[in-house]
Each structure stands twice: as C-alpha cells, then as structure tokens.
Symmetry: C2
Subunit: 200 residues, 2 copies
C-alpha cells in the first residue's frame, strides 16, 4: 500500500512546482525540485517512478504535466466531500480555511454535541452526531476530519467507521484503533509545536 | 543534529505512555510501546538510547521515569513563550487551543496587519508586526507560529529571523528560506487532508 509519507512528498513537490510555474519556468530537473523540496534528486526520481511519471534525460520534467499528474493522484478534479466532527475552535477554523475552500474540497457538514452550534451561525450546516450515518450515506462521503477532545476521540472514530468513512484526518490527541482498511492521518498540534522546544 | 522525526516519535510515545498510566500500568516494554505507537520495538530502544534512557531487561521501562525524561527533552517545566504571526481563523484557533494552554505553553502576543484585530477582542494582546522586535526582545522569545497567507509567508519569516526567533512552526503554505541555524516545522493543513484523497 502506498504510504502517507510518499504522498506528502508529492504534495510538497506541488508547492514547489507551483512556485516554479509562477516564476515562469516550464521545465524542472529532479535536482532543482529536490533542492527546493529538501530531498535528494534520487528520491524525486524514485517517487515519480512509483506513479509512472516520466521525464526526458536532456530536458527534465514538464512542470504542467507534473502538476496534472499530481492533481490526478489526489483526485483534484473530483468533488471531494468531507465532514467534520467537533465544531470547537479548531473545527470552526478548518471549515473556514481558504486552503480547503479554494481547492475543490467541499465541507458538507459539521457535527457537534452542543445544540447551540446547530443552525445558521456556521457557514456549513451543523448537526447532532446521530445524523452522521444519514449524511455519510446521502452524500457518499468517505473522508472525515476529527477534531473532538481526547476523551471523545475513539468513540467518535468508531461511529465514523461504522457509518462507512474510510479516511480520517485526526486532530484529536489520541491514537485511534481502526480496522486495517481505514487510513488515519494524524495532526497533533501540541506535538508539532513542542517538538521545536527541544532546540531552544 | 537531532532531527524533527525522532522528536515527534517521542511526543507520540508520550501520548501512549499517558494512556498506559491512566490504565494503571507502571512499567512498559519496548514491544508494547512500539505496538501502540506503530513503530518497531527496535526503533523504540534505538530512540531511547539516543537520549540515554535506560530500562532493565527483565522489568521494562518505568513509565513515570520515561514521561519525566520526555518532558525534560521538551523543557516542559520551563516557561515556553511563543508568539503568533497572523491572527486569522487558524491563528485565532491556535491561541485558544487547549492543548497549548494546558501544557505550560505561554502565548505571549499575536501580530496582524489588520488594526481591527488589535485590543481586547482576543485573549492575548495583538499588535502590528512593527512590534515584533520589541516583544521578542522583552520576553526573550525564541519560538514563533507563522499563520499568514502564502504571499506574506517569506517576508514574515525574514522579519522573525531578524528579530532573533530560531524556531518556527509554519502553517503558511510556502517553503521558507532560512539560515542554517533556524529550525522550521511545517504543518500544511491542505496537504494533510489531500493526502487522504488518494485512498478514496
């Protein structure tokens, strides 16, 4: 199974390629891309070969073609529906996050136990978690963001898996137990910040 | 130089160890910890040896001692001052994030170009970026969170480095050019979510 690490490198390559394109370049060498992304040129070529992306020895890789290939990997042209569980500060910020909204990512609904969050105060509809099953089914949703407190993380995850969610972006500081066919990507904000304190 | 990857594994170990402790355990084997954290027992032992953490062959590692060692690595008992650049939705959510507030992380100030954000609407003082130098000096701050739009990322970063910041948690979707002695940890929220769409 393709692992998350290689996929995240492709998303890093995309950031670099967009920058090169803005600067007016049309071709790129694995050396240049690797330098910008902080990986070796060998790694770049190896990653590309995994997804059968070819360049010419002399001319390098065509940036437009590379970007199209990468967008294809991540289904950029499909409607990418997502629900979000937990409408606290992080959940709320993610719903409004331009990086999602501008890139064909469709936040379908939020879920929260707190009834004061239901209704039109948010920019997406917010429901009680009892409605997860119905929304997931109606909109054929496979991806969820989990942003609930630690104590609620595993129960919310179980509920998502039972509803048919197969991919979870987890902001809750808990290691989730999931069946083998479910993919979980972790973002632990506390750890991301604290890892820096070692260097102070 | 110790890299971020090993440090993040330690922060993952901490999540697991806290869980074990809550469950009433006092000792843990590298096998058990590795299983919970999703790494091999060899990796656990190798990581521990980097920081001279020792266990006994028979009894395993003492959880309380391990947690103290990990907290020590991340200076948990010091005052850990942080500033945040960009008080948009993400910046605002991070300032209020319980995972920071509950763990001896002190958000000293926020900075934003928008004057409507200054004053008492926020739970920390918010200033114009012109004040970065003074605040960094007055509070001896080494760590900053960058949460500005892509176009403003590099300029804001340059300003932080000039002020004396040495560690940056970067939420802006831009690869920062920094001197060798500056450490940058990237959180690209769009990439974290998009990496999951491959599996759908």
């Amino acid at each position: 199974m393709t692992n998350l690490r290689i996929l995240k490198r492709f998303l890093l390559y995309r950031i670099c390629l967009n920058k090169f394109q803005k600067l007016g370049f049309e071709k790129v060498y694995s050396y240049t891309l690797g330098e910008e992304a902080g990986v070796t040129p060998e790694q770049v070529r190896k990653d590309f070969s995994v997804f059968s992306i070819k360049g010419s020895k002399r001319g390098g890789y065509d940036i437009k073609h590379l970007l199209a290939s990468i967008n294809n990997i991540f289904k950029q042209d499909s409607e990418r529906n997502v629900i979000i569980i937990g409408m606290g500060d992080i959940g709320h910020a993610l719903v409004k996050y331009q990086g999602f909204r501008e890139n064909n990512i469709n936040m379908v609904a939020g879920f929260d136990l707190d009834p004061s969050k239901y209704g039109k105060k948010n920019i997406i509809p917010v429901y009680h978690p009892d409605s997860i099953d119905k929304i997931v089914r109606d909109f054929d949703i496979k991806t969820a963001i989990l942003a609930v407190p630690e104590s609620a993380g595993q129960a919310a995850c179980d509920r998502l898996v039972a509803a048919g969610i197969t991919a979870i972006l987890n902001f809750s500081p808990v290691i989730l137990k999931v069946p083998d066919n479910i993919i979980v990507n972790y973002v632990n904000l506390r750890s991301e910040l604290e890892s820096l304190f070692y260097f102070i």
